[in-house]
């Protein structure tokens, strides 16, 4: 019989092997935390979950709403920026370039404070939900621009020549060749970016957007159950991000046809 913890020569694991090994790894991680809790002398109490379930659900829902809205808006920002980085109009190219560098080179926390208290105040963006979505989208848009720019530059010139050769017009080339190839190349990274947005939205708690993190902080402040709330907080983010990462992997496998 095959060693249950060693993959075959082709690098693959049987479903039974995968299950056994995953269970082992999970047990080890949970065991480590359990041991740490015991050694630190902390008794875990999760009673607050039932007590505050409506507020937790509301926070979770708001986190999801912010994330989805930000994903959409950040694509709206990121796509033109990716194209703009290759523009022949130099101010446009450098503006896009500067945007990506500034956003990727500074912490999100600083961006949130600067935007909300300076730009937001000056331009009258007082709705915290709207401000949160805008900040997160501007932040994530820079990363999406980089993702899209990467797949744009990986488009093979032979594919474009073949498109011209079969008689496609420019519009048809875009529709039948460029867009499908870009989408399948971009989708895995884009989905991964969505998981990042979900996590990054937790920082919006600093401007008192009552999303999941802010909700849990409030609960923690009134119950003094710091460890319990943060453990549940982390678990709830995982509930959101794990399926997204799974989908990202699936896109990756489905799209791996070329090169």
């Amino acid at each position: 019989m095959r060693n249950p913890f060693v993959a075959g020569r082709d690098g693959r694991a049987t479903p039974a092997q995968a299950l056994a090994s995953y269970a082992l790894v999970c047990a080890a991680v949970i065991g480590f935390f359990w041991l740490s809790l015991a050694m630190a002398g902390i008794a875990l109490n999760l009673d607050f979950v039932a007590q505050f379930r409506t507020r937790i659900a509301d926070g979770l829902l708001l986190t999801l709403e912010i994330s989805v809205a930000s994903l959409v808006l950040s694509c709206v920002i990121g796509l033109p920026v990716a194209v703009g980085q290759g523009s022949r109009i130099l101010p446009v190219r450098y503006l896009c370039d500067l945007y990506v560098k500034l956003i990727r080179g500074t912490p999100l926390l600083a961006q949130i404070y600067l935007f909300f208290y300076i730009v937001g105040t000056a331009w009258g963006v007082e709705n915290r939900f709207a401000a949160g979505v805008i900040i997160l989208s501007v932040f994530s848009g820079a990363y999406i621009a980089e993702i899209v720019r990467g797949s744009l530059s990986s488009l093979d010139s032979g594919q474009l020549e073949a498109a011209r050769a079969v008689g496609f017009t420019r519009a048809q080339t875009l529709r039948y060749v460029v867009v499908p190839q870009l989408v399948s190349r971009t989708l895995p990274a884009l989905t991964g970016q969505f998981a990042s947005i979900v996590k990054d939205s937790s920082l919006l708690s600093v401007i008192a957007v009552i999303e999941l993190t802010q909700t849990m902080q409030e609960i923690s402040a009134s119950t003094f159950n710091l460890f319990g709330t943060y453990l549940v907080l982390a678990a709830l983010y995982l509930v959101l991000t794990l399926p997204i990462m799974f989908v990202s992997r699936w896109f990756e496998r489905r799209g791996s046809y070329a090169h």
């Binding site: 073949a162 011209r164 008689g167 060749v177 190839q181 046809y257 070329a258």
Partner: protein, 244 residues
């Protein structure tokens, strides 16, 4: 099909590739041979409307090759291209590679396009490969799918750019056999090729391109048995050096 070239000149970023090609003849099957970098592929792309020459005119069947827009797309669609690496669309199955241009460019209904694709795949021995993407096919299979895509809309002529250069010898034979069968069925083509046996026996005319000039042109039997220019003599001599 009548091809007329007048003073066709081309340069890539000031590097001259073609130095004034003049040519006029009725072409049924033509092999373009010559040393690498001699401008063969560039000439083929100019005739096919994929590159506009720096100077000179190209007329096919009496009409000048359009330079832009819808007319150019229609002109390209009237020809069938096969590239060295096949040029199949990575994201589409073999069947879709053939059927999509039939629908999008040639206006066939979905079921007719599909039937035409399946009929060609069957004829080229690729029926089992219809639902595979190019990355799942062997090099020879890819080239045969590319040829199937090229002939599917019944073009007036095929343009083949070194269709076997990237293939192992066994696949080369499989692709050349297919082209010979197409020729016997009346398909016309211009092929840039390094396969001298194919040029000599499967193509009625041969053009020898060297240093951007059309150095020699004629019936293939004649050109191969009695090369006139020293360049062609040297070129053919080099090829014979390692022959078994």
């Amino acid at each position: 099909m009548r091809i007329e070239l007048e003073g066709v000149t081309h340069a890539f970023a000031d590097a001259p590739v073609l130095a004034g090609i003049d040519f006029a003849d009725d072409v049924s099957t033509l092999a373009v041979i010559g040393p690498s970098g001699g401008g063969k592929s560039t000439l083929l792309r100019i005739v096919g409307g994929l590159i506009a020459p720096t100077a000179g005119t190209v007329r096919v069947d009496g009409a000048e090759v359009p330079r832009d827009g819808e007319a150019l797309a229609r002109y390209r669609a009237s020809l069938g291209f096969v590239f060295q690496d096949g040029g199949l669309f990575h994201h589409l199955t073999a069947r879709e590679n053939i059927a999509l241009p039939l629908r999008a460019v040639h206006g066939l209904a979905e079921d007719r396009a599909r039937r035409r694709a399946d009929e060609l795949l069957e004829r080229f021995g690729l029926a089992a490969e219809a639902d595979k993407r190019p990355s799942e096919l062997s090099g020879g299979q890819r080239q045969r799918v590319a040829i199937a895509r090229a002939v599917a809309p019944r073009p007036r002529m095929l343009l083949l750019d070194e269709p076997t250069s990237a293939l192992d010898p066994e696949y080369t034979t499989e692709v050349l056999n297919l082209l010979r069968d197409l020729k016997d069925g009346g398909t016309r083509f211009v092929a840039v090729t390094h396969e001298m046996g194919f040029a000599r026996h499967a193509c009625s005319k041969v053009a020898f391109l060297c240093n951007g000039r059309l150095a020699e042109y004629g019936e293939s039997a004649e050109v191969f048995s009695h090369p006139r220019t020293p360049e062609l003599k040297r070129f053919l001599g080099k090829l014979l050096e390692w022959r078994v």
